[in-house]
Symmetry: C2
Subunit: 369 residues, 2 copies
């Protein structure tokens, strides 16, 4: 293999495919990136067997070929090289030479023969979505994914397409986040579970400047296409919880407040809460005023937030972290909270985005605590 | 105690004095900040018995008094409060109330009675120095301080004033950094050893926007005054190494190069070096060309840097980290390196700052390695 490409393009491409390279694998070849000439392009692939990312950079191919190069070292070297042209060459023993201006590196590579192939996906039927829209949907739900390895399905998000409506759903047993939006075309309904790690890497890969993005699904895999980058993830296999049943229909109490004011007050209250039990903060809600309190051995906090309340007064308590996780990812100025009782879930909706729902369970408190 | 002050001023003052508060102390009172009314000011002190920082903020004192408040929690609370006026009150049981707009915190404080006093220093004789100048001198030497607790004197820097010349000297047995500059006035000669931690905190406290700064010394302490902030540190007691004897006088070889190019090449070479032994990189210097190489089990690197050389050719090796530590803190475009042999120390001087000297020992290499 022998080729020339630009340092800037190559550095960016390595950053992209590196997201699928695991440093913790026991298979040394998976710590590498596949480099392969492909016409006037250089193809790069990172693959940890769950998630694979493939991308291309413009290159002048002098001699065709392919090689596996250590991902971390290759990334560090290319990042430190001057903004110029890089000459990459590999021989039959997979010795790799990287030259750029006054620098020359020689590294030992691996044979690409044993490198796992990315699964083939039919790209005939592609769902189109705005990249920024998908990025927002992931960001507003992914924190609610479970970290509990005994519940592997909850370590992913339900990815549902019905007509041209698309929903992402994450839940961990304490809270549930749903983001619903529209896709550009209608092909057929889909219901799959995508691992949290893949969603986070898709989120990072989308810069927000891309104009279009498309998706394709098989029984076992999902493909996300973004420009010349293809992200392929294995799906989690099984039946996702019937989340629609969980969301309370009876919401007799509706609280409306400024999101920013509420977030600031909860953040301050949680400074004391986190030192206590379960990040517990208590809410006492009347029309006009929400009082937030938290007590711990180091002190007490009392916060007032202006609200409007439809329905009767309410006393309720939450884990402050679960509330903040959601408030932090919303942009709306105004938000609504729906309650039915102090032991029933609370539903949060931003005023400007009816497609977003966050539900969380309260913490039961005895009247004396 | 009862007072009003601005959130912004108070938050900044807490950040300043917190630098002298240790979280690892076994004396709970030292995890606190002393708050004390002082006319139309609030005085704040942090003190870990080695380093003490005192500062003042404008305040409207309603009732005089003082209290110790947990530094970490107080800082977090004030940082999160809105940019408004903060009301602070403490009672005889040292219960503290902090109010700001719609927030109210109550915390348990400590009695200030047992809080250690800052040492009294005569402020009659003050040495004046430009704050930015002192900041640069610290930054360009402090990395060469020893981390070896068996050599406590080398964990500080020699602080020498002779006439109106001031030098900071740090050395750790492998390298030596000296920064010399002028102070504004001449009072008397001084030679003290200031702990590295104090120097780093002085460096952080100087924002670079201050107009003036002054210093005072006793047998046991040094005082640095910056606006309304006083930093007082204990001195390290003992005799500093006679560093002037160490610096080689015979420098028959002089290499001149671009600092930036040399730094970039060494940074790339060290990508492979750090995986090998002692961050070893080798230099082969002839007039016109410096060749930098490094070899490890993962690969080799070869770098060329344009240089001019006065004197004979030279082969020499260094720990790349020790070289980079110095190159990174210099701003000059051009730099000179002085050598006498491959086993003698190298002296580095930026072309635009004759007051700065960095000396480092080479790594001995056998001809075969």
């Amino acid at each position: 293999m022998k080729l020339l490409c630009s340092q800037k393009d190559l550095s960016q491409a390595i950053n992209t495919v590196q997201r699928a390279v695991s440093q913790r694998t026991t298979m040394p070849i998976l710590k590498g990136i596949l480099l392969e000439t492909s016409g006037d392009k250089l193809k790069l692939i990172g693959n940890d067997l769950e998630l694979g990312i493939e991308t291309y950079v413009d290159a002048q191919t002098i001699e065709e070929g392919s090689v596996i190069i250590d991902s971390k070292l290759f990334g560090e070297i290319v990042r430190k090289l001057p903004e110029s042209y890089i000459h990459i060459e590999s021989d039959e023993q997979n010795n790799i030479t990287i030259k750029c201006e006054h620098s020359e590196f020689t590294l030992k590579g691996h044979s690409p023969v044993e490198y796992p192939q990315l699964p083939e996906l039919d790209e005939g039927l592609l769902y189109d979505i705005e990249p920024q829209k998908l990025k927002d949907m992931i960001r507003q739900t992914v924190f609610a994914i479970s970290q509990d390895e005994t519940k592997p399905l909850l370590m992913g998000e339900l990815f549902e397409i019905q007509g041209n409506s698309m929903s992402l759903v994450a839940l961990d047993g304490y809270r549930l986040a749903i983001s619903t939006s529209t896709i550009e075309n209608t092909i057929g309904d889909i219901s799959v579970i995508i691992p949290g790690k893949a969603l986070m890497e898709i989120n990072r890969t989308i810069s927000g400047e891309e104009e279009s993005m498309s998706m394709s699904f098989t029984q076992k895999h999902a493909l996300f296409k973004l420009g010349s980058t293809r992200i392929i993830t294995r799906l989690l296999e099984g039946e996702f919880i019937n989340y629609k049943q969980i969301i309370p229909k009876d919401n007799s109490l509706v609280v409306t407040s400024s999101r920013r004011e509420l977030q600031d007050s909860i953040e301050r209250a949680s400074l004391l809460a986190r030192e206590g039990r379960n990040n517990l903060i208590k809410f006492s809600i009347t029309d006009g005023l929400m009082i937030i309190t938290s007590n711990s051995e180091v002190g007490n906090v009392y916060e007032e937030v202006n609200v409007t309340l439809e329905g009767g007064n309410l006393e309720i308590a939450f884990n402050s972290r679960y509330l903040l996780d959601s408030l932090k990812v919303l942009e709306s100025e105004e938000m609504n909270m729906y309650f039915s009782s102090s032991v029933s879930p609370c539903v949060i909706k931003p005023a400007d985005n009816p497609g977003y729902t966050y539900m969380l369970l309260p913490v039961r408190i005895s009247s004396g605590s």
